[in-house]
């Protein structure tokens, strides 16, 4: 069974999941999708995030997807990813969609992926009107594309904290303006990367997106470019 993990069920995760699930639901391969997020959906998030009801984001969204896509298996992990639980959450052979808004969690996931024999990590994030997606592929214990920490010092040495380390007041205060369309653009770029990987056609390790410029720019670095 193919295991897919979606970490972060916020603006990008919510945009990504319906399309990912519809795509996978009609393939012959058996797939289990695990949604991972410790955050709670509140009505104030509604302009940018689609949930049927308040509650833990992973649990609410997993239940929604399970009702819509009966060909897939779903599981919810209502926790933030930390160094303490990453080994339980991720396994060899996983396809991971990392859709979080902090570098600390990215580093925890990336460091763990570097220890795995085989993994596909697709990490996406956005600022207000632009964003980027990094792809880290490991096969046979070797990197086919660069780990997401390699060229991103802000992820390698994060100065922020995991949401698991923040108080309720800090979590409330960290809200920054976000644009639904930027979330959608990054989610789309993550799915495009997944599709090209599935077909052995990925030729980049990172892609930049800017919705105001109307541009995307895929870049290839040392040792990357052909899969």
């Amino acid at each position: 069974m193919q295991e897919i993990k979606v970490i972060g069920i916020g603006g990008i995760g919510c945009a990504l999941l319906p399309f990912l699930c519809r795509y996978l639901n009609y393939r012959e391969e058996r797939v289990r999708i695990t949604l991972i997020d410790g955050d709670e959906f509140e009505r104030a998030n509604a302009p940018r995030q689609a949930f049927e009801r308040p509650g833990n984001k992973a649990q609410v969204k997993a239940a929604e997807m399970a009702r819509q896509f009966d060909g897939l298996s779903f599981r919810a992990v209502p926790e933030y990813i930390t160094e303490a639980n990453v080994g339980r959450a991720l396994q060899d052979g996983d396809v991971i969609f990392l859709a979080v808004d902090n570098h600390r969690t990215r580093k925890v996931v990336s460091d763990y992926c570097e220890k795995l024999h085989a993994v596909i990590l697709i990490s996406g994030g956005n600022d207000f009107t632009d964003g980027n997606v990094q792809v880290h592929i490991r096969e046979g214990g070797r990197d086919r594309t660069a780990p997401i920490t390699r060229y991103h010092l802000e992820i390698r040495d994060p100065r922020d904290r995991s949401p698991a380390e923040l108080s309720c007041e800090e979590l409330m205060a960290r809200g920054a303006p976000q644009l639904l369309f930027a979330n959608l653009a990054v989610a789309s770029a993550m799915l495009n990367a997944y599709y090209t990987i599935c077909h052995g056609a990925l030729r980049y390790g990172e892609v930049y997106i800017d919705i105001v410029e109307g541009k995307s720019n895929p870049v290839t670095r040392e040792g990357e470019g052909v899969r």
Binding site: Y151, H152, Y204, S216, N217, V219, R221
Partner: protein
């Protein structure tokens, strides 16, 4: 992989500059072909910092390889300053 898909995804992102005497500079979606051969990466970073809003900590890569800031650019090279990973919260339009 199917052949039609191969043809449809023939992406060549870090291609050489349009003219062989220039250097291509990439930052995010922006790409410029400029006459800066002979200058160091540090000089280019300083010169283009404001125009492209290059973050001070952005890693510099030449032809796909991480290089020293003292590297002197050669005609035809591609210099990328790696745009920081998105984490929301920059200034809206």
């Amino acid at each position: 992989m199917t052949d039609p898909l191969k043809q449809a995804t023939r992406i060549r992102p870090a291609t050489a500059p349009a003219t062989p005497e220039t250097v291509r500079v990439i930052y995010g979606v922006h790409s410029l072909d400029v006459n800066i051969a002979g200058r160091s990466v540090t000089e280019v970073r300083t010169t283009l910092r404001q125009a492209l809003n290059i973050a001070p900590q952005a890693v510099a890569i030449v032809d796909g390889r991480e290089i020293l800031e003292s590297h002197v650019l050669q005609p035809g090279e591609v210099l990328e300053f790696v745009r920081l990973a998105g984490e929301k919260g920059t200034i809206p339009l």
